[in-house]
C-alpha cells in the first residue's frame, strides 16, 4: 500500500462525484479510500473502534441510571465548587471543557501550519496543545481527589445511587487515559517536527521509514477525537 494518497491526475475529469463516487471507490478493487493515505485511514478506523468502546461505557451508564430505584446524585451539586463563599455549579467541568476546546483549536492550526511546512509554528502549537491537555488531566486529578475525599467510591457515595461512582470513575478515567496518551503522542511528534525530521527525510526510530508532515494531521485526528468524546461525556454525564 502506498504511503501517500495518489494525486488525482488526468482521471479527475472523468471521476464520478457524489453517490456515484462512493460506488466507484468501493468497487475499484484497489483502494477504497482514494483521498486518504493508509495512515489516515487506519487512524480513522481505530477511532471508529474507540467510538464503540466509549459508546458501551455511556450506554451502560444510561442503563444503570435508568434502572436504579435510588435517586441519582445531582451532578450539578456534586461537581460544584465554592468560590468566594458561593457555590458555583459545575464550574470546574466548564473550565475543563473550555481548556479542551482551546487545545483542539491550537491543534487544528498546528495541522494547518504543518502542511505549509512551517516547522517552528507547528511545533509551538503542538506544544501548546500538549500543555492544554496536561492542564486538563491535572484538573481531572484534582476533581478525582476531591470526590474521593468526599467519600465517593465505585461501590458507594454519600448522595444516592451506588452506580454513580463506578460510572464516573470508569468513564472519566478512560477518557483521562486517552488524554494522557494524546499528550505523550503530541510531545513525541512535536519533537520530530522541531528537529526537522520531515524536511530532512530522517528515518523514524521504530519504523526506519521516512516520516511525512501528514503525521501531524493524524495526531490531530486522535486529539480532536478526545475532545469529541468529552463533548458527549459533558452532555450525557455531567449535564443530564
Amino acid at each position: 500500500m502506498p504511503d501517500v494518497a495518489p494525486a488525482d491526475t488526468q482521471d479527475s475529469m472523468t471521476q464520478p462525484t457524489g453517490w456515484r463516487s462512493l460506488a466507484a471507490d468501493w468497487s475499484s478493487d484497489q483502494r477504497a479510500f482514494r483521498s486518504a493515505s493508509w495512515g489516515k485511514a487506519m487512524m480513522w478506523i481505530f477511532l471508529l473502534s474507540d467510538t464503540f468502546i466509549f459508546s458501551c461505557f455511556l450506554i451502560s451508564y444510561m442503563t444503570v441510571r435508568m434502572s436504579t430505584v435510588v435517586p441519582w446524585p445531582n451532578p450539578s451539586e456534586v461537581f460544584a465548587l465554592e468560590i468566594g463563599g458561593t457555590k458555583v455549579p459545575l464550574i470546574l467541568i466548564a473550565i475543563m471543557t473550555f481548556v479542551l476546546i482551546s487545545s483542539s483549536g491550537t491543534m487544528a492550526m498546528a495541522v494547518n501550519f504543518a502542511y505549509r511546512h512551517d516547522r517552528v509554528r507547528t511545533a509551538v502549537l503542538m506544544l501548546a496543545t500538549a500543555v492544554f491537555g496536561a492542564t486538563f488531566v491535572g484538573m481531572q486529578a484534582f476533581e478525582w481527589t476531591k470526590l474521593i475525599h468526599e467519600g465517593v467510591r465505585p461501590w458507594e457515595n454519600p448522595w444516592g445511587a451506588e452506580q454513580f461512582g463506578s460510572a464516573f470513575f470508569m468513564i472519566t478515567g478512560f477518557h483521562g487515559t486517552h488524554v494522557t496518551i494524546g499528550v505523550i503522542f503530541l510531545l513525541l511528534m512535536a519533537r520530530k517536527v522541531w528537529r526537522g525530521d520531515f524536511n530532512q527525510q530522517r528515518k523514524g526510530f521504530f519504523t526506519s521509514r521516512k516520516g511525512r508532515w501528514e503525521i501531524v494531521e493524524i495526531t490531530g485526528l486522535y486529539w480532536h477525537f478526545v475532545d469529541l468524546v468529552w463533548v458527549f461525556i459533558f452532555a450525557l454525564f455531567y449535564l443530564w
Partner: protein, 109 residues
C-alpha cells in the same frame, strides 16, 4: 509560502478554524448555562442534545476535515456508529424492564 506546497494535504484558511473555535466556545457556554439556570424537563434535554450534536458536528466536519474527505471514507466511518442508536434502544427497553422488576418484586419505589 503556502503556494509552494499548495496541493499537499488539507489546506484551509486559518480564519475558518478560528470561527469554528469561537462557535465551540459559544455552544459550550450555552450548554453550561442550561445547567447554571437550572432548566428542567424536556427543554433541558433537548437543549443539551442540540448543543452536543452541533459541537460534535463542527469538530468532526471541520477540525477533523471530514467535510472534505471523499464519500467512501465518510460513509465508512460515520455510518457504523448509527448502530449504537439501536443498542441504546435495546438497553432502554432492558433498563425499563429491570426497573419494573425491582419496583414490583423487590419493594423499590
Amino acid at each position: 509560502m503556502a503556494h509552494a506546497v499548495a496541493h499537499e494535504g488539507q489546506q484551509h484558511p486559518i480564519r475558518l478554524y478560528l470561527i469554528v473555535w469561537g462557535w465551540l466556545f459559544i455552544l459550550s457556554a450555552c450548554s453550561y448555562l442550561v445547567d447554571y439556570f437550572q432548566l428542567h424537563g424536556l427543554l433541558r434535554w433537548s437543549l443539551i442534545l442540540l448543543f452536543m450534536a452541533l459541537k460534535a458536528g463542527l469538530i468532526v466536519a471541520v477540525f477533523m476535515h471530514m467535510a472534505w474527505e471523499r464519500l467512501a471514507l465518510t460513509c465508512a466511518i460515520l455510518l457504523p456508529p448509527l448502530a449504537v442508536l439501536v443498542f441504546v434502544g435495546i438497553m432502554v427497553f432492558e433498563a425499563d424492564y429491570t426497573l419494573f422488576t425491582r419496583a414490583e418484586f423487590f419493594g423499590g419505589r
